[in-house]
């Protein structure tokens, strides 16, 4: 059976994108951001921070083995994970705020996928030349020259990828030590495996997958649709000004044409390979490069800039009606963005307050309830408690335990004479504690009596307490 009709295509090859070089204010901004963001990523693990002799001196460290997170002055223990939760909530609210106000600024300027792709494209341009040269080379049959250029490009990419994967592991252990071990091939296999995986993903995502990540793999373009509304400032094409587009400006009838001279500059610079003139779309990461490209053209043909520009949906209606443009601030300051700002700042202030309120010693007392109490040979009643003492300090500290209750309780520690235990630097100690009530005391016969256990730190005299109960024979 044969049919003249072509069957529908089920699969489509990726159209390679060869973004042209562009100059302009957004490109300059993106260069700066790229420098700063890459700098932060590569340099952070090498910043030193003195915390005392028993503590790591790395400013930012995720210490998985000891389950600690260090960030300059801040040290987070696993039981303080709410700090991390709070930071994640702030990150989420921040994204909501920025997206509802400025659209996908995250995607266009700060997302690692965008920054590294941009870097890879820049390297590609250095090695192969600008758009036209790259297209020509792509279409050319394989030759020694093509192989040489492609191999050197891939080698450069691989080097960047290796540096990227390599920098990641430094966040998790002391960077200088690890660097030495890595070079001496003595580091833990996990370090090499992690570097290997991250090198491979960076190389692949930055070199070949690029815009496909944003279009097919990343959830954010889908989520952002819910964050944007008609006041969100995003990148758009003023079709009421540009259409009908046309090339032949000198020809008769050119007066009927809009400002768009159909030069495709905006399409050629787009790292996503799309045409913004089709309207704002899922594939647009709002990187602003088409604005730069179009402004350059408008300058050349002597038309006002801003045929492509940052605008909100609501601008279209007023601009079509010939009204003056709505100010950017009016778009940005609206109840929704202000609510996000308030929530964001609220969580932030809450976290900072918590950070300063928390004490660097911590005690929790869990009564041992199997059994609830023990009767000793002299008839006295004894309860046992598991006291957990946390010393979040750079040096070992003694803690003296005591009771505050008007009952004649006696406090003893398992395996220790006296009431003082030493907790090592930045450590947690479990100490079993016994509280005994004499046979004839009311606490010994009552079902339960409230009890407060105090811990006093021996260096600065800080005190903490924990409330619990004492079970008597009546229990």
């Amino acid at each position: 059976m044969s049919t003249s009709e072509e069957p529908p295509r089920l699969y489509e090859a990726r159209e390679p994108v060869f973004p042209r070089k562009v100059k302009g204010s957004f490109r300059t901004l993106k260069w700066w951001l790229m420098g700063v963001l890459l700098g932060i990523y590569y340099i952070t693990p090498w910043i030193r921070w003195d915390r005392g002799p028993n503590m790591p001196d790395q400013a930012v460290l995720v210490d998985l083995a000891n389950r600690r997170f260090f960030f300059f002055v801040v040290e987070i223990w696993p039981h303080e994970f709410y700090f991390v939760a709070g930071l994640l909530i702030m990150a989420g609210l921040g994204l909501f705020l920025f997206t509802s106000a400025l659209g996908r600024v995250w995607c266009g300027y700060a997302c690692p996928q965008t920054v590294w792709t941009d870097l890879f494209i820049t390297v590609e341009r250095w090695i192969e030349g600008d758009r036209n040269a790259r297209v020509r080379l792509w279409k050319a049959p394989w030759s020694v020259r093509k192989a040489r250029i492609y191999l050197s490009k891939w080698a450069a990419w691989l080097l960047i990828a290796l540096a990227t994967g390599g920098a990641w592991v430094f966040y998790f252990t002391d960077a200088p030590t690890l660097a030495r071990d890595l070079l001496a091939f003595q580091a833990h296999p996990v370090a090499y495996i992690t570097i290997g995986i991250l090198t491979a993903t960076t190389f692949f995502f930055g070199g070949f997958f690029r815009e496909q990540i944003c279009i097919y793999a990343c959830p954010w373009p889908r989520i952002q649709a819910a964050m944007m509304d008609e006041d969100t400032i995003t990148i758009g094409y003023r079709d009421w000004r540009g259409e009908p587009r046309g090339k032949h400006r000198k020809a008769e009838g050119a007066e009927a044409l809009g400002d768009c001279i159909d030069c495709n500059a905006c399409v050629n610079v787009c790292p996503m390979g799309i045409d913004i003139r089709d309207g704002q779309q899922l594939a647009c990461i709002t990187c602003g490069l088409c604005i730069d490209a179009c402004d350059e053209v408008m300058d050349k043909v002597g038309k006002p800039r801003g045929l492509i520009g940052y605008l909100a949906l609501s601008d279209e209606i007023s601009e079509r009606a010939g009204k003056p443009p709505i100010s950017v601030w009016k778009h940005i300051f609206r109840p929704r963005t202000m609510l996000y700002t308030v929530l964001w700042a609220g969580v932030g202030v809450g976290l900072v307050v918590l950070l300063f309120l928390r004490s660097d010693l911590d005690m929790s007392v869990s009564p041992i309830r199997n059994p609830t109490h023990v009767v000793l040979s002299d008839g006295s009643v004894r309860n046992a408690y598991e006291v957990r003492l946390r010393n979040m300090h750079g040096e070992p500290r003694p803690f003296t335990l005591s009771l505050s209750a008007d009952q004649p309780f006696e406090l003893t520690l398992e395996g220790i004479d006296g009431a003082t235990v030493v907790v090592a630097a930045d450590e947690l100690l479990n100490q079993r504690v016994y509280v005994t009530a004499p046979a004839s005391s009311p606490a010994a016969t009552a079902a339960s009596t409230p009890l407060r256990i105090w811990a006093e730190e021996g260096l600065l005299g800080e005190r903490v307490y924990s409330d619990t109960v004492f079970n008597g024979r009546g229990n």
Binding site: E252, E255, R320, G379, G415, R432
Partner: protein
Amino acid sequence: MVDPENKTPENKVSPPERQYPDPKKKIVEEPPTTGHVWDGIEEYDNPMPRWWLWTFYITIVWAIIYMILYPAWPLVTKATSGILGYSSRAEVANEIADFEARNEVWFQRLNETEIAALRDDDELERFAVQAGGAVFAAQCSQCHGTGGAGVQAAGYPNLLDDDWLWGGTLEDIHLTVAHGIRNETDPQARFSQMPAFGRDGLLDVDEVDAVVEYVLSLSGQSHDEALAEPGGEIFQMQCAACHGADGAGDHALGAPALNNQVWLYGGDRASIRESIWYSRAGVMPAFDGRLREAEIRAVSVYVHQLGGGE
């Protein structure tokens, strides 16, 4: 189709009105739809990206390689074993072996340390308490309870208090755990037997009652003075040999102290009478041979640190 005539000057009289695009009209052509409609929402029929297809092929290749390397096809008795010879059982066995190899160092240290000094080394003690706790949960908790409080009604001693039948030092505990109590299979087990004074006719009912009152007086409980006096005389003759003249008991004989507040079988009048009349005693098995020496030492340390260790 573009009409070339259109561009010729003859056809143009005056420049046409500038045409603003209709905002409702889309500039791009929409892709075809699948024809599915839900609540007015249609589904585009876009082709899939080709790399998606590649990923699919890669999974197939992966599956084939996996089936060659790893156990895959179920056969009648077992699955194909794969050329790597992997098995999850072997992996567990390896992990256990690895775990044991790491513990071995500690077991060595436990064995080499004097029993009485086992708690002097902090590190070793910590290990012993952890390891001993595991042994206790598996071997001892059935009778002595998971918390070590014993079961009074059944005569399983409480290990938390400060009253011991056979001694509460590390060495005593170790001896008890290793060889058991009244355990006929182990010649080193400690043994003692209290006579059944009433059942065997050694004392008559009145005499037993008198001794009961005297025993009550030893622990300061309310008792009948008139009966306690003759009871005391009988006690000195019949009971003091083991329980001591003052009723303080004797660890060497496993004779419980009667002058305190801790009772294995209950300290009220009826329980004491029953103990004297019928005699009661418990049996504990030996763990020597069932557990390794290091484990016995570890569990001894664990019991010692429960609160009653001497």
